[in-house]
């Protein structure tokens, strides 16, 4: 018999670490690590719930309860099946998120989330980056004005930028 305090404490530690990672990390890939830990915490609780009898918490073996009629197990195995579903959804999520991160790195030359505070064309300080002619997400809009060519300080100061670096990385990604 496994005491239920163990899985509960494990799930809460993983969830706490995941929330800390989501909030404290600046590197976009490391933020995803925190999200994976949150999904893992949910998986622990799912698998623990699948070990419960069919009545759920009501059917638990309490220490004081008289040992008697053990209820039948859940034939649908909900906890384990849902864990497999959660793992699949997490895999799909991380594949898509990493594609977005790679696109961000190709366009902005950084994976630092603190340097990416713009919301695209809606932002007043928006400027197209160097080499924007080959950027897929930027539609053909009005030309870059002279005062916005410098960009904002945060995005410009992080990492080496320039046409040569962007073409090298773009070839690397594809």
């Amino acid at each position: 018999m496994i005491h239920l305090a163990g899985p509960v404490v494990l799930a809460s530690v993983l969830a706490g670490a995941g929330v800390y990672g989501l909030l404290a990390r600046r590197n976009a890939v490391l933020v995803l690590v925190g999200a994976e830990l949150l999904v893992a915490a949910a998986g622990v609780l799912f698998v623990t719930a699948s070990a419960l009898p069919a009545g759920g918490l009501a059917g638990l073996e309490r220490p004081g309860a008289p040992p008697g009629s053990v209820p039948a197990a859940d034939p649908l195995l909900s906890g384990q099946v849902l864990t497999i579903f959660a793992i699949t959804i997490a895999a799909a999520e991380i594949g898509l998120a990493l594609a977005v991160i790679l696109l961000l790195f190709r366009v902005r030359r950084t994976s630092d989330l603190d340097a990416v505070r713009e919301l695209g064309e809606a932002s007043p300080t928006y400027s197209e980056m160097p080499g924007s002619a080959e950027l897929p997400i930027v539609p053909a809009g009005p030309p870059v004005s002279a005062d916005s060519a410098g960009g904002d300080g945060a995005a410009g100061s992080s990492g080496p930028s320039g046409p040569s670096g962007s073409s090298v990385a773009a070839g690397e990604v594809r």
Binding site: G6, A15, G18, L77, A91, L98, F105
Partner: protein, 168 residues
């Protein structure tokens, strides 16, 4: 203590330590490798809880595929090698994040401990074997399972579309 209890304690401790180190390590690659430790030990936890197939899926999908994807993304975004201080936010935001993390851990752990902390479960390996799990998935869970394959296809197409761009 039975074998399952000892295995659960060892793997659970390893998983918790690996998870905490994965979000606090200052090496980028070390953080990804601690994620391997945490998620791999979690497969052992699943096995100790009687979920054999789920443990194998966890090993295959997480340790085999997801962590490799993360490492590839770190390489492609030119992650720095060595100790870096710019991976985390400033100390004030780190403190707030730690407060939020501890609050979530206390909330989840406290609530569930009050609810179920004084009881135990007896996991059976026979329930988590391939045959009952396959019968459950391709029986009652057939429609969600098929929907999940549509979701995977949508994620695949979307990842291709995002990474290739719209003009090619």
């Amino acid at each position: 203590m039975s074998v399952a209890e000892v295995a659960f304690a060892v793997f659970g401790l390893l998983s918790a330590v690996g998870g905490v180190l994965a979000v606090t390590s200052r090496h980028v690659v070390h953080a990804a490798l601690w994620l391997v430790v945490s998620l791999g030990a979690l497969a052992g936890v699943y096995l100790a809880l009687g979920a054999e197939v789920v443990a194998l899926v966890q090993l295959l999908v997480y340790v085999g595929a997801v962590v490799v994807l993360v490492l590839f993304a770190l390489m492609l975004t030119r992650a720095p090698i060595g100790v870096r201080t710019d991976l985390d936010a400033g100390p004030r935001r780190r403190l707030l994040a730690a407060v939020a993390g501890v609050a979530v851990a206390l909330l989840v752990g406290g609530t569930l401990t009050i609810a179920v902390g004084d009881s135990g479960v007896t996991p059976s390996l026979a329930r988590g074997a391939a045959r009952p799990l396959g019968q459950a998935i391709f029986g009652g869970w057939l429609l969600p399972f098929e929907l999940l394959s549509v979701l995977l296809l949508a994620a695949l197409v979307a990842a291709l579309a995002v990474s290739r761009g719209s003009d090619r």
